[in-house]
Amino acid sequence: MRATAIEQYVRTDRLPHIWCSGCGIGIAMRAMIEALSQCDVRLDDVVIVSGIGCSGRVAGYAKMDSFHTTHGRAIPFATGLKLGNPKLKVIVFSGDGDLFAIGGNHFIHAARRNMDMTVICVNNFIYGMTGGQAGSTTPPHARTTTTPYGNFEPPFNLPHLAMACGAVYVARWTTYHVVQLIQAMKEAIAKRGFSFVEAISPCPTVFGSRNEIPTGLAAMKFFKQNSERIRDGFDVAEAGIELGGKIKVGRFCDRDRPTFQDRLVRMEHEVVSAERTMEG
């Protein structure tokens, strides 16, 4: 993409953005923009919905119809948008705390319904906006402001969760893997049904600094050295992330299931009109 073309996608009048130096959210957002530019979609039909947190600010910079909702509620808001106007291409872009702690219930139900939307989760293992508290994705033993003795809770394995709930497309890459991330987002956006892309991202300011990855560059090196592309037959249950451990990356599934809308339309055609005929 030429530099000038970025103005089609970004509210440049809102720059500079709020993200810290070394943060990966901008890379993930840029990957989404690249993916959109390569997809066969009209930008006027694209809607970006975010929750609250650092990643939740993406909606504010995306030059499309964009909604910055309440904490954890991007997915049900997006559900209303999609069902209110099925022509819309709905992308939820938010963080791990927003989507999987406070908003976890909505994620599992949208995946179960196979609601036609793409969820992009920037996972930096921490609540960044509030200054570095542990969440449902914080690896065991990680130091955060609310786990001063090390995290003793087990975290979610997000691809495993997404697949178990019925997502039809699931991929994970890190912000080091820009090309692969763009490709995954492209496939996710093009996919009919509930697609999910996890973008593992550095947060040097409040996560890395306390966990021996003090800069964005150090995180990129870590991602480069410790990411392992999954092979055919990989068991997604093994994709959990340990502090300092290997990060399994790749496309975990690409499968088909009828979407909520498919089932709704079928019900309307088959059942409702049949009942009406019988009554008539």
């Binding site: 930008l43 504010g60 309440t70 049900p76 139900h109």
Partner: protein, 387 residues
């Protein structure tokens, strides 16, 4: 399709179903809900009826999701609603606030039951009146209507849609278990006699459109997602472009406008009903189901020689301050009847001046006996006579 959305004719239906039919008749085509007694019948009716008229019913995972889904559907250009009762109403509060902040039209029916907490799922109450006004955090004004019958459930749900589009605010229909579950005659007019809500779409081109620049009545115009305006909508304090502006000045400007667009237009929003007020010495103020009890109590008082009148609040929020202030100068005592431990009575007291105010209340569970309200009217009349 449209013929099925308006069931013109005389019906025998309960208030919950009448709320659903009111929504359908004026064009509601999206309902997101979650089962909860005593509001479940609204959702059940919508689940059956919306597919018949090309609309969407979705049962969400909770009331938080329901509230967000109707906000999203509204921005997609659909007239949307949900219904709930006490516990679900509590869960909706944060995102009713999002609806207020983002100026998103939608309708929330609250079929009130006894609370706090799980309280009395199957029994009536009017304990959510102050929650309706103040339940979401921060400063705002809201519009809330209180139906007294299934017919009004139908009529006021339509009114709620009209007001929500006119003022771009979530409108609350504050029904209750008794009205929701009572079966009465409901007349549904012909389709061409039903007023339809109008989305205030932008009248200027995309380049000169400023998303939250208000019109003269302080309400901005509203494009839908997908119209090509590429707007940004946020629950953060924002400027007229819709961009986050988290500073005191922008906040002052925005919150004042959100409040003033309702306050300045309150005289156009109020709906009141008065009876026996011409010669009244004691005025009863009541709303919803309690107004029916109060009406009987008023008649009984008059039979006993007490000149009682009734002011029924159809619009409860915004509160008709001026009317109550004037009323307080016309009568010698005010009686407020309601099914809570004293909520709207506080609002009445703010505007009653030196006129004494008496409360006829119960915390819900069942409606008052007319005799209970009468006893308070008699006490008020006696005190008024002494002063």
């Amino acid at each position: 399709m449209s013929d099925l959305s308006v069931l013109t004719g005389e019906h025998f239906m309960n208030g919950d179903i009448a709320c659903a039919e009111g929504g359908l008749a004026c064009g509601c085509r999206f309902f997101a809900g979650y089962p909860i007694t005593p509001a479940t019948e609204v959702a059940e009716r919508m689940a059956r009826r919306l597919p018949e008229v090309g609309g969407v019913y979705i049962q969400m995972e909770d009331e938080i999701a329901s509230m967000n889904a109707i906000l999203g559907a509204s921005w997609a250009g659909t007239f949307s609603m949900t219904s709930t009762s006490g516990p679900g109403f509590s869960l909706m509060m944060e995102n009713i606030g999002l609806g207020i902040m983002t100026e998103t039209p939608c309708v929330v029916v609250n079929v009130q039951r006894g609370g706090p907490s799980t309280g009395l799922p199957t029994l009536t109450g009017q304990g959510d009146m102050m929650q309706a006004r103040w339940g979401s955090h921060g400063d705002y004004e809201i519009i809330a209507l209180a139906p007294q019958s299934p017919q009004e459930c139908f009529d006021l749900t339509i009114e709620a849609f009209l007001l929500s589009e006119q003022y771009r605010v979530p409108v609350l229909v504050m029904s209750d278990e008794m009205v929701g579950h009572m079966m009465e005659r409901v007349v549904i007019p012909p389709a061409d006699k039903i007023p339809l809500p109008v989305r205030r779409k932008p009248r200027v081109d995309k380049d000169s459109f400023v998303a939250f620049a208000p019109c003269e009545d302080l309400v901005p115009e509203m494009p839908s997602a997908g119209d090509g305006y590429r707007i940004h909508v946020t629950g953060l304090t924002h400027d007229e472009r819709g961009y986050p502006a988290t500073n005191a000045r922008a906040h002052d400007r925005l919150v004042r406008r959100l409040v003033d667009k309702i306050r300045n237009n309150a005289h156009k929003i109020f709906r009141l009903e008065e009876s026996g007020m011409e010669d009244a010495e004691v005025a009863i103020i009541a709303y919803g189901i309690t107004a029916r009890v109060a009406r009987r109590a008023m008649q009984m008082a008059r039979e006993r020689g007490i000149r009682a009148g009734l002011l029924r609040l159809i619009t409860v929020w915004p509160f008709p301050e001026e009317r109550v202030r004037r009323l307080a100068t016309q009568v010698r005592a005010l009686v407020v009847a309601e099914l809570n431990m004293g909520q709207m009575v506080r609002e009445v007291e703010r505007f009653s001046g030196s006129t004494p105010v008496f409360s006829a209340l119960r915390p819900g569970g069942e409606i008052q006996e007319p005799g209970e309200v009468l006893a308070v009217i008699e006490r008020a009349a006696k005190a008024a006579a002494k002063s």
